[in-house]
């Protein structure tokens, strides 16, 4: 069957067997390997992508269910101008170690910040309950999401504005 999605702003189609999950379609048919296969049964969140504004486990959604919808994957976050604040902060704080859970965690956090620009630590924790990380212990991730949220709320977001002089200045941390 032919499935057509808007992925990271581009219209993409693929002919896939009906049992294909959104995760397999993204990874194997569209070669977007950012979303990971951690468990394939909805337990770990490594496969998280955003479908019509909501974070979903791509391993639990059939490609056919996503037909006609808008999908954002980790590959769609950074722009030519720079990194998404979450990506920038996660890099600077060392929030990821092996990184396997990273794309999922970042996408879940993005979906959260899109709806809740000023989340409390508890709200961040609740949002990330479906994302397992075996390496880090989550502390830096939760701090990172808060930092990114603050960055996104400030009018001159250094991560987004490629030309900002603040970019070259080292962070005071």
């Amino acid at each position: 069957m032919i499935v057509t999605l808007t992925v990271n702003g581009e219209l993409r189609s693929a002919s896939v067997p009906p049992e294909t999950t959104l995760l397999v379609m993204l990874r194997e048919h569209l070669h977007l390997t950012g979303a990971k296969t951690g468990c394939d049964v909805g337990d770990c969140g490594a496969c998280t992508v955003i479908v019509d504004g909501l974070a979903v486990n791509a391993c639990l959604m059939l490609a056919a269910q996503a037909d006609g919808r808008t999908v954002t994957t980790i590959e769609g976050l950074a722009t030519r101008e720079g990194l998404h604040p979450l990506q920038k902060v996660f890099e600077e704080t060392g929030a990821l170690q092996c990184g396997f859970c990273g794309p999922g965690v970042i996408m879940t956090s993005k979906a959260l910040l899109d709806h809740t620009p000023e989340p409390t630590p508890q709200e961040i924790r609740t949002a990330l309950t479906g994302n397992l990380c075996r390496c880090t212990g989550y502390v830096k991730m939760i701090e990172g999401v808060q930092e990114a949220a603050a960055m996104m709320r400030s009018p001159q977001s250094p991560a987004l504005a490629g030309q900002s002089p603040a970019l070259a200045a080292p962070e005071q941390k």
Binding site: R27, K36, T37, A78, L83, F90, E92, C98, R134, K173
Partner: protein
């Protein structure tokens, strides 16, 4: 004058060397992929090389990983993100029964399925064994199944779904055998012998210092306790995944998320009966190891499937296989007997431990050795005797995991330390300080220790946790 000139020249050279890096770094900030490693948050002066008796300044500082930008961009290429042209997908049928003899395997329905390119069973494998220390593990069980996670047949097909359907279509007839599921049971002479022979013990170790009996004779009190720690799965986020690919000259390339390349090549060379020079193992970025990705697992099966099919083959464990067909941390049964003086000094300790090795050896010997060496704890004890045994049981294989046996024995000796402290009415911190290793102490193996910081560490921890000694 000449000296002056030289200094100036050096200055210029220095600037030239430094400036471009700085410029590059600044432009990197705007680019998506870094070309220059990020400036680390760790101070370079004074040096981070540990100096004897000095604490390094790394603790408590933010550190960046050079690969973290790629992680955040989703660009890190883990093994499962790699696909070769024409690559097939493999699945392994797990026995699902812990102890049995395979009577018959029928693969005909699987072989007839469209999309299935190769089927493999244990009886066709010329050298059906592997293992990092003892080669006691079959690639695919034949004819004896020793634990439920043993593979009994494997399939390579054009998609994962077809491979799974083919696996489901394979029927295996088993004759159930008795089994042994407890390490202490496995020690008994009448127990079922997992690998035949007359014992389930496959490695043992004894470490002796002084004379424990004499120590116990002098003791004010003797404490005895039995401690147990269970098996634990590493549970990395990235499941075991590998790709096997043969070239036209009969050379094998394995892409795998593995931590020990050369060990993997040796083990593969023996099993596949080809020289090690014809085997290349490419270790990919590891999505979590924790000690579980130190040895080959399904790689020889993938290699044989790839050879049969004439195409590259990828295999990926599912979550259930991660638990039943990988290795786990050894479960430990530990008996501790400790003699102390009136003022809480340890004068004799006898340790006997039995490790549940599961169905195959893996890294059991290493784990046993380290556990025995560390079993007396960071304490100066003049008389000690540690004995350890690893036994086969019909359970998931135990192998290496962070600490190689050290956390298990730590649980036992620290638990007993608390019991002794409570009974003697000594503060738990104080009793440890009285017995702790110091500069020049001798360990149970006879090693004289230097740079001993255990006292400072404990005092620091006490302060940080707010456990000031109450007298």
């Amino acid at each position: 004058m000449a000296q002056d000139l030289m200094d100036r020249e050096l200055d210029v050279l220095d600037k030239e060397r430094v400036a471009p890096v700085e410029t590059l770094r600044r432009s990197d900030e705007a680019l998506r992929l870094p070309a220059v490693a990020p400036p680390t948050a760790l101070p370079l002066e004074p040096p981070l090389v540990p100096q004897v008796g000095e604490q390094t300044r790394a603790v408590g500082l933010r550190a960046q990983r050079p690969d973290s930008r790629n992680h955040g961009l989703g660009l890190t290429r883990y093994i499962d993100d790699i696909a070769l042209p024409g690559m097939l997908f493999a699945k392994i049928k797990r026995a699902g029964i812990a102890s049995a003899r395979i009577k018959r395997i029928d693969t005909s329905r699987a072989e007839a399925m469209p999309g299935v390119c190769a089927v493999l069973v244990g009886s066709e494998i010329p050298v059906n064994s592997f293992g990092p220390s003892l080669q006691d593990q079959p690639l695919l069980a034949h004819p004896i199944v020793r634990h439920a996670g043993d593979g009994v047949a494997a399939v390579a097909a054009v998609t994962e779904q077809i491979a799974q359907a083919a696996i489901d279509a394979i029927t295996v007839e088993y004759e159930p055998l008795p089994g042994v599921y407890d390490a202490l049971e496995a020690l008994k002479p009448e127990s079922y012998k997992v690998h035949g022979g007359d014992t389930n013990v496959y490695a043992s170790k004894v470490i002796k210092r002084g004379d424990v009996e004499a120590g116990f004779a002098q003791a004010y009190r003797i404490y005895e306790g039995r401690y147990y720690t269970p098996g634990i799965e590493h549970a990395p986020m990235e499941p075991f995944t590998s790709i096997a690919d043969w070239d036209a000259n009969g050379r094998l390339t394995i892409h795998a998320s593995i931590g020990r390349i050369t060990l993997a090549r040796c083990d593969l060379a023996r099993t596949l009966a080809i020289p090690i020079s014809r085997i290349r193992v490419i270790g990919t970025v590891v999505g979590g190891n924790f000690g579980g990705k130190n040895e080959i697992r399904h790689e020889p099966v993938l290699a044989l499937l790839a050879k049969k099919a004439g195409r590259p083959v990828k295999g990926r464990f599912n979550r259930v296989e991660e638990f039943v067909a990988s290795t786990i941390r050894h479960a430990f049964h530990m008996d501790y007997k400790t003699g102390v003086t009136k003022d809480g000094r340890l004068i004799a300790r006898q340790v006997r431990m039995v490790l549940d090795g599961g169905a195959y050896c893996s890294f059991s010997e290493t784990t046993l050795g380290k556990a025995c060496i560390l079993s007396t704890g960071p304490y100066e004890i003049p008389n000690s005797l540690a004995e350890g045994y690893v036994v086969y049981t019909n359970k998931t294989t135990a192998g290496s995991m962070r600490g190689f046996g050290a956390p298990q024995v730590c649980f036992a000796y620290e638990s007993q330390m608390d019991e002794i402290a409570r009974d003697l009415g000594i503060d738990p911190v104080e009793i440890r300080l009285r017995n702790m290793f110091r500069e020049g102490s001798m360990s149970s193996t006879g090693q004289v220790l230097h740079s001993v910081k255990v006292k400072e560490s404990l005092e620091n921890a006490v302060k940080k946790f707010g456990w000031e000694v109450q007298s």
